[in-house]
Symmetry: C2
Amino acid sequence: MATYKAIIAYDGTGFEGFQRLGPHRRTVQGVFEDGLRALGWQGTSILAAGRTDAGVHARGQVVSFELEWRHETGSLVLALNAHLPPDVGVREVEVVEEGFHPRFSARWRRYRYTVLPTPMRDPLAERSAWRVWPSPDLAQMQLAAGHLVGEHDFGAFGAAPIPGGHTGREMRLARWDLDRQTQVFEIEGNAFLHHMVRRLVALMVQIGHGREQAASMAELLERPERRWTGKPAPAHGLCLEAVIYDADFAGR
Amino acid sequence: MATYKAIIAYDGTGFEGFQRLGPHRRTVQGVFEDGLRALGWQGTSILAAGRTDAGVHARGQVVSFELEWRHETGSLVLALNAHLPPDVGVREVEVVEEGFHPRFSARWRRYRYTVLPTPMRDPLAERSAWRVWPSPDLAQMQLAAGHLVGEHDFGAFGAAPIPGGHTGREMRLARWDLDRQTQVFEIEGNAFLHHMVRRLVALMVQIGHGREQAASMAELLERPERRWTGKPAPAHGLCLEAVIYDADFAGR
């Protein structure tokens, strides 16, 4: 029996989020555990770096589980993929120290949010992008994003995971880029409040439309008690890109 | 009553191809005609630039239809999109001369084929890309693609649309490019034989893997009677990007 860490990717469209909900609800965790059971897994629950919401995608979600597997890890990737539906895939598997926990051992998490600035429907692209029109001003959004890097109280953008918990988080990257016809926001931080990235994106798009000032981002970070009450950007534009661990947990 | 030209986009995954097949078969044409009927259309069939196969996507398919519409064309786009499912969208509508035919009036067609060179499953990307591993050599594929530009007999790569019909076609662009983690083949020609692009891509990937010489492309163009019998590349990597018309049919 060893502890395995797996990097998994999924198209969130067909799932009611990551976390297992019950026998007739299609979730990433449920589908993944079914795949593991086909390989003889008898655990009760896998662990995961983060519970993505319904519709959110992932290219770098990290899960862990204990398994008796007598072959190479490469063959475990193939065996697992053979028992997973086309909208979930295992990208890598490695053996890790017993103490590894995909959530608590994580040092950084990187999310990517994709905006598609076009007036007309674009079915393929809209699966993983928020279609917005008119096109938001990228320079204004970048100006607002610049305030995010560093340690801040993000209480204006989400509640603490437990009542009374703190809402301070550290971001080490927050950047808008053009990628072909899309505007892409990448943010990397030690942890995120629930809906935080989607609220930040929604505010920045308002800033890009000139309906809010870029400075309002700085104000909300300085006075977190003034909750931002706008609607979060849609889930389907968001993707969990990567979870980064200290070298201690780089596998052996 | 006027003749309308519409540019439409679709995610081909959920369709049994473009062409209407019958009451219980989900096709792009069937879904689009249902949408038109909701706006009072009483025609029997729309016309289209090309009948894409099951699984093939489009960002620039062109269709035409006659319709009595008393408002602006902009409102027709919105009204049609409101009656189409999320995997089909109208991008543009314009009024055209009565003699306009999306297929016969077309001067050039541009296709894009996306290869995703990665060993592991990538659910979001694989919806519209062919996953190939090991990574094919882009320079070798480009060398082969260079032979395609100009007028050639493509009989080695597909049959004529009617028995005894000719298989000469003119290409004015055939190029491989890197686009982030994908290898993208773009080809623009006056017309294409059935499965021609997918066969060309399959051969070039073999060339990129060193299993065929780049020169074999030139040989097959010179001796089209020596049919290329390999398996076409999968449909889901292909996208009809654009159909280009002479200025006469640029709309009025």
